[in-house]
């Protein structure tokens, strides 16, 4: 009996050290979260990514596995974010004519959006007495996570905190965006997509692809453009304001 227990615990140690555990948990949690979201009528309040994260955190706490151990396996899923970002060039190419026509409006809207996102965050957090680390980790919240992490590191925030808050921002954008478009009668899919991609990066892009391929292409464009321009603008804004 004791031998058997020993075998089992050795097996457990072996399995939890191999990537298969984290990958399985991630896929299973995401499937369950998608199902929950479907049952809730697709409400962005229960965004599959946020629900999946909650399930995984609860599970890891339960089996006493820390984030580093988890990420050792989950990095294989995380890695695919790179090629997926490159892949955004395809929908962008498909709608290149529209993008060319609207080039200057898009650029002006993008810079204004970036400044609004950064300044409103800084004003609110400083105004409510948040810590300096909180301000700096929150400032790049609308930027797609790989770029946001780089910016946070550069201006003195916590990159891993930023990564998480970027996701929460994305989910919030998915809730507020469609309501706002309805209230303001913004019906054009290119405008909706670009706005979602700017404020809610990959989440907004994923949601926009579900609306239409035009919306998705403009969201992807906004996400890439916001990321690149933010990498230049945000460090300057933070230095200028002396945060």
């Amino acid at each position: 009996m004791e031998n058997k227990m020993d075998d089992l615990s050795t097996l457990w140690v072996y399995l939890s050290a191999s990537p298969i555990m984290s990958i399985m948990v991630t896929l299973a949690a995401f499937l369950v979260a998608s199902q929950i979201n479907r049952l809730a009528g697709g409400s962005a309040f229960l965004h599959p990514v946020i629900v999946a994260i909650a399930i995984i955190v609860a599970f890891l706490t339960l089996i006493d596995m820390n984030y580093q151990q988890y990420f050792e396996g989950a990095q294989f899923i995380h890695f695919l974010l790179g090629p997926a970002t490159v892949a955004l060039a395809v929908p962008l190419y498909d709608h290149l004519e529209r993008v060319k026509q609207m080039f200057w409006p898009l650029m002006i809207a993008c810079v204004s959006g970036i400044m609004t996102a950064a300044l409103s965050t800084i004003v609110i957090v400083v105004g409510m007495g948040g810590s300096r680390e909180t301000v700096l980790s929150l400032t790049p919240k609308s930027v797609t996570s790989p770029i946001a992490m780089g910016i946070a590191e550069k201006i003195g925030g916590y990159p891993s905190l930023t990564a998480g808050l970027v996701l929460v921002t994305g989910a919030i954008g998915c809730v507020i965006g469609p309501l706002l478009f309805k209230a303001l009668k913004i019906n054009d899919h290119s405008v909706q997509g670009f706005t979602m991609g700017l404020a809610a990066h990959g989440f907004g892009t994923a949601q926009s692809f579900a609306v239409s391929s035009v919306a998705g292409a403009f969201a992807g464009l906004a996400m890439g453009l916001t990321g690149m321009l933010s990498a230049f603008i945000l460090p300057l804004v933070v230095r200028f304001l002396g945060v």
Binding site: S120, S131, L180, D188
Partner: protein, 124 residues
């Protein structure tokens, strides 16, 4: 499909290379996206393998964010201490950003949008 995936990885690889070499502040995949876009324009179309691979990845875009998001658990203390500030800033700032961007772009691009909806009406 495999060929398409290789193309995506190649673009990312050269993107990373350029970023490291020139010490640019943004990540390699974004530069890779620009490289692929330029390549597609030169090529004058999207090879079917590249389209398959990119559509496959973009379908599961949301899933790919999960591993990084679980990292929130590491910052439990800071989130607990500044929770209200963080929540307020996230909600308000995101709403204002959506509002400013959406309204501004809707005004600036009105010319293109109207043209299309009008032609849509005529066709319909």
């Amino acid at each position: 499909m495999l060929f398409g995936f290789l193309i995506l990885l190649l673009c990312q690889f050269f993107g990373e290379l350029i970023v490291r070499y020139l010490d640019w502040p943004f990540p390699g995949p974004v530069v890779g996206m620009v490289l692929l876009l330029v390549g597609l324009i030169i090529n004058g179309g999207v090879p079917s393998g590249v389209r398959q691979a990119s559509e496959g990845l973009l379908t599961y875009l949301a899933l790919l964010f999960v591993p990084a998001g679980v990292g929130l658990m590491v910052h439990y203390n800071l989130i607990a201490a500044d929770g209200l500030v963080i929540a307020t800033a996230l909600v308000l700032s995101t709403a204002v950003t959506l509002l400013v961007t959406g309204v501004l772009l809707n005004k600036l691009a009105a010319k293109h949008i109207d043209k299309e909806s009008e032609s849509g009406k005529q066709n319909g």
